[in-house]
């Protein structure tokens, strides 16, 4: 059963990955990218890494892909013109790909696993039955690494203050809607009752 689910997710990941590169419309590419991210998240759940799966969905789908979508829609990219040189570049690209593939094969072929690998890899983490991934991360993040956590928060705050400082402008003469002011306006200021004589204008 797990194997079947794995193959479904894996096949969909590869297929939508291929569609990201080949789709004619860049917006479709981004949508396929989102599908890829969802399938990868599914693969992580199968591995028992539910935290990474959640981060994948929240960060990559929720933020990165939406950002891509904005960029693609704003920049008005013509995928067809971008792809004009593909055939010319194809041999070079495939050579690079083959080299990378060969390197990866060599790495895995020559990899010497420590005999105690499984034990070492799991030693700092309590068993899954006692503590989920998310809890285990939270326990160290908010205790052992609380200093780093808070300091990273400050880095983000500085980033926020800075981006506002560098881009925010107070424009003069902009008409702003103030709902409170509108709602509390006395009736005399808004409506004027006029007597209109028959057959005449105001």
């Amino acid at each position: 059963m797990t194997a079947l689910v794995f193959y479904v997710f894996a096949a969909l990941t590869v297929a939508s990955g291929a569609m990201v590169v080949t789709a004619r419309n860049p917006v479709h590419s981004v949508l396929f990218l989102i599908l890829t991210f969802f399938n990868v998240a599914g693969l992580f759940v199968l591995l028992g890494a539910e935290f990474v799966a959640m981060i994948m969905v929240i960060v990559y789908v929720g933020a990165v892909a939406v950002l891509f979508l904005f960029v693609v829609m704003m920049l008005d990219i013509h995928a067809v013109t971008l792809r004009q040189g593909v055939l010319k570049l194809f041999p070079v690209g495939s050579v690079v790909g083959l080299v990378l593939f060969a390197e990866l094969t060599l790495v895995f072929g020559a990899w010497a696993w420590d005999p105690n690998f499984a034990q070492i890899a799991s030693s700092p983490i309590p068993p899954v039955s006692e503590l989920t991934n998310t809890e285990a991360l939270g326990v160290v993040l908010y205790t052992k690494y609380v200093y780093l956590f808070q300091l990273s928060g400050i880095v983000l705050l500085v980033g926020m203050v800075g981006s506002i400082m560098l881009t925010h402008r107070l424009r003069q003469g902009v008409k702003r809607q103030n709902p409170l002011e509108q709602a509390t306006r006395p009736i005399e200021e808004c409506i004027e009752v006029k007597k209109v004589a028959t057959g005449k204008g105001i």
Binding site: V146, Y147, L151, S152, I154, V158, V161, M165, L166
Partner: protein, 482 residues
Amino acid sequence: MATDIPNLFPALPEIFLALVAMALLMLGVFRKAESTRLVGHLGAAALVAAGALALAFGGLRTVTFGGLYITDAFAVFAKVLVFGASAVTLVLAVKWLEQENVQRYEYPILVLFAALGMGAMVSANDFLSLYVALETQSLSLYLIAAYQRDTVRSTEAGLKYFVLGALASGLFLYGASLIYGFAGSTNFDVLARGFVAGEPVSAGVVVGLVFIVCALAFKCSAVPFHMWTPDVYEGAPTPVTAFFSVAPKAAAIALFLRVMIAPFGDLLAQWQQVVVVIAVLSMLVGGLAAIVQTNIKRLMAYSSIGHVGYALIGLAVGTEEGVSAVLIYLSVYLFMNVGTFAAILSMRANGRMVEGVADLAGLSKTRPVMAAAVATMMFSMAGIPPFAGFFGKFFVFKAAVDAGLIGLAVVGVLTSVVAAFYYLRIVKVLYFDDPADQFEPMPPQAQLVLGITSVAVVVFFLFPLPQVVVAAGNAARALFGA
């Protein structure tokens, strides 16, 4: 799962600064633009208070947050310098921003965050906390370099600093990950236990160490990683340049000392030549390239590169005496640079800022007191006794000679002579050239700062020097006692 709350007292200065910065941010947001002066002065007061907190709570060596954070006499010494320099330059900056009519309350907030990052940097006891602290500081600095977003020069300075700074951060991370991979820890105490002087170390650790030296050399703008300094110093608004040339520089050099001595002290043989080369190149470039500068901010940039070279002599020595000499040098350097920049910030003629060396011409006739103070600073920077700069150089060279690095000391003395040429050229411009346009009167803040620092520089050997020597000695001992 119950866990003990970590001991927060050692980190009190940083916690205090973070809280004050956030409170002032709120104050600024609700009071809008006119709150710059209030936020700036409260921020400066907070920096002084943070320095006092560091002095009050940081004397003994304490490690907290699970080994990530350390406070000792060395950290306290560096923090007092950094917070003090930040406070003085912040007060000068607020006045300048008002004169130029570019006040925004974010400026003091970012200075506070930068100071917070610098405090955390000199108190880092682990590559993780070091990196996060470094980024807190650097990010704030990139932003204030680009503070005047409507001028091309300021945005260019910010962008250049950001791109090159990000590169240096990358180098640092790569080095730290190599060391983690080959030595098995990122904690300074654990690393220090793992290395024994004289025993061979794995090549991975040495390569990682070289990457880290490069990144730290970039942060304190030592040659050959100095390319950003003149452009950023020239392009950034002048009060930002004043701040850059003191607080981040002192913090970066203190960090350099901590990283080289605390975990890698026993690997002196591995990193000594690298630091010697960096020091020699910095002194040469700082001395020779400054000769042709006509912009006073660029000139100060090269001057600061030269000073970093002299300070690094003390690190290259790698002894307790050397570290103590670097700390004395830094204290002297801060006094001289704060004073000089108080004068540069007051170079206003005909309603606008001027920054050419030629604009100082004949200042002795138009503003004799200011000219005398600037001349004092220049004599001190050149290292002429009995001014403070002489003692800074004296201790560094003495440490080098005592440790047998006589060649390094000779290069130092020779480049001091070269550097003396361009410092004395400024004195000549001040006293013997035909007067240029008269400067507007100095603002009272700048008068006060320039007055205090120039008196301090003259009588340095009487008043702060003996105390600084004792404190620097304690700080150096704390660094080696670990």
